[in-house]
């Protein structure tokens, strides 16, 4: 009997850069192009990881969960070895069959019907904020509109009280940095959050949940044995950490793209039912969670290359969403294009469970703006923050004006 031959494809090409250096984080679109151009999948020695930014490969790595596991964490750091030993997240960082069971329960708790039931509250809050801002004519859309909106509607839906909600902003910042390496960005963000963790953790206690929220429903699922009690608090944490900064990012980017593409704002004014489309197209171009990570399980061939076992894979959703091989005129904000297949929410078994919440949030804000203003334009320069994996505006000066005034 012949010994198994060491055959097969070659190792992926080497891309000798640091994707988490300021140079690339300040210019993500440039990084996306460098990554895509370097190959279908590449090896990045600096972080001992594979990386891919081509649409086809990102899409298939997310679909092939057996080869590309989530169980070693969806961060660059491996949760089972090295510096970052921690318990994997109870829904995001598990593979089937455990994942299937948990997801089934959560799909029920956060079903599209439940989310539709929140529409009235979300729209009322958007209406209240926008109606107060429009008479001012000039405002910062991130600090005065989007952040207050998300900090109101999401924790309300979950059933948190009002106290200290602003702490969710630095905690959201940490979430985006923690997915990447333990660089200065991460450490700084961790230092800022350290004094807030006691507050944060107290918010997941059963006694802290207001009646009627989905936090309470998750606790109730532990009474029936559907969810192990020790997983409840990490689950609630996952929703808050996963839903706050990404939600703020998506809506802010949409407003930025509309204000800086007046032809698209005019299209939308003429046809307000394009609002959800305007939101999804913004997510495609300015993907809030730019990259997520998987870990190879076993050695296998992928995209014509031989991959090694137990290596982290950076899946750059943002680069895939601008891949010219998939998207015509990929860098253009076009609210009439079909965004079908964009991967801003991921795809496959781990596809974002909060995506219908995000769409409702985006639609509520845009609906209120469309009702109250005819003009939506830039009033200065926008600012993004630096983050290892998040694309997040921190300032967006806008000018609005109603014809009625």
């Amino acid at each position: 009997m012949a010994a198994p031959r060491e055959v097969g494809a070659e190792a992926p090409p080497v891309l000798d850069i640091d994707p988490f250096s300021n140079e690339y984080l300040e210019n993500p679109t440039r990084f996306h192009a460098v990554l895509r151009d370097a190959g279908r999948i590449v090896y990045v020695p600096k972080h001992e990881m594979y990386a891919t930014g081509r649409y086809v490969e990102v899409q298939s790595s997310f679909s092939e969960w057996k080869n590309f596991s989530s169980a070693a964490g969806t961060s660059l750091c491996h949760v089972q070895k090295g510096l970052a030993l921690r318990t994997p997240g109870p829904i995001v960082e598990v593979d089937p069959p455990d994942h299937t069971k948990m997801r089934t329960t959560l799909n029920r708790i956060l079903s599209p019907a439940v989310i539709r039931g929140w529409r009235e509250q979300f729209e009322a809050e958007a209406e209240r904020l926008v109606a107060a801002l429009v008479p001012k004519s000039e405002f910062d859309a991130v600090a005065e509109l989007v952040e207050p909106f998300i900090l109101k509607v999401l924790p309300d839906a979950m059933g948190l009280d009002d106290e200290g909600r602003e702490h969710l902003l630095p905690i959201g910042d940490l979430t985006g940095n923690a997915l990447g390496p333990r660089n200065e960005l991460f450490l700084e963000s961790e230092r800022r959050v350290a004094p807030l963790m006691a507050w944060f953790n107290s918010k997941f206690e059963r006694a802290a949940m207001l009646p009627g929220g989905f936090g309470e429903k998750i606790w109730q699922a532990s009474d029936t044995g559907e969810i192990e009690p020790e997983k409840v608090m990490p689950l609630i944490r996952t929703f808050l950490r996963g839903g706050t900064d990404t939600g703020i990012s998506g809506i802010s980017s949409m407003l930025w793209l509309l204000a800086s593409n007046q032809d698209q704002w005019s299209l939308l004014k003429a046809e307000p039912k394009l609002a959800r489309q305007a939101f999804d197209e913004a997510l495609r171009l300015e993907t809030p969670a730019q990259s997520l990570f998987r870990t190879t399980r076993g050695s296998f061939e992928f995209a014509g290359y031989q991959l090694k076992d137990d290596v982290k894979v950076m899946c750059c959703l943002a680069a895939a969403n601008r891949d010219p091989a998939k998207w015509a005129d990929a860098d253009k904000y076009d609210i009439k294009r079909s965004t079908l297949g964009h991967v801003a929410f991921g795809t496959g078994i781990h596809v974002c469970i909060g995506q219908m919440v995000a769409r409702l949030e985006g639609e509520a804000i845009l609906g209120a703006l469309l009702r109250h203003t005819d003009v939506l334009e830039m009033n200065g320069q926008q600012t993004h923050k630096l983050s290892n994996t998040a694309r997040r505006l921190v300032s967006l000066p806008l000018r609005v004006k109603s014809k009625a005034n």
Binding site: N107, P112, R116, S338, G341, H342, V351, C352, Q355
Partner: protein, 107 residues
Amino acid sequence: MPKIVFIELDGNRKEVTATSGTPLMNIAIENDINGILGECGGNAACATCHVYVDENYLGLLPAPEPAEEQMLEATSSERLPNSRLSCQILLTEELDGIVVTCPMTQN
């Protein structure tokens, strides 16, 4: 190529052909069918590609997977015995001529 008949939400009838193996939701989006959204991109995670399948073809479809079953419990328009998610129906030669009707609302 097999033919699909979409009844759009305004009652308009649109006949299109497509390659076998393609999900009906994708065919609907490509052909701009009025009444199918497919917001989650085919992951059975949003229930916005809900359709009513002609009884004559219903029996030819594999039973819904648990994920689809859950979403069918949460559709915006009423779930009927012939309700399916069009993203979970792969076109086959056998389905040639299938008629699917769009519900009045998807979200």
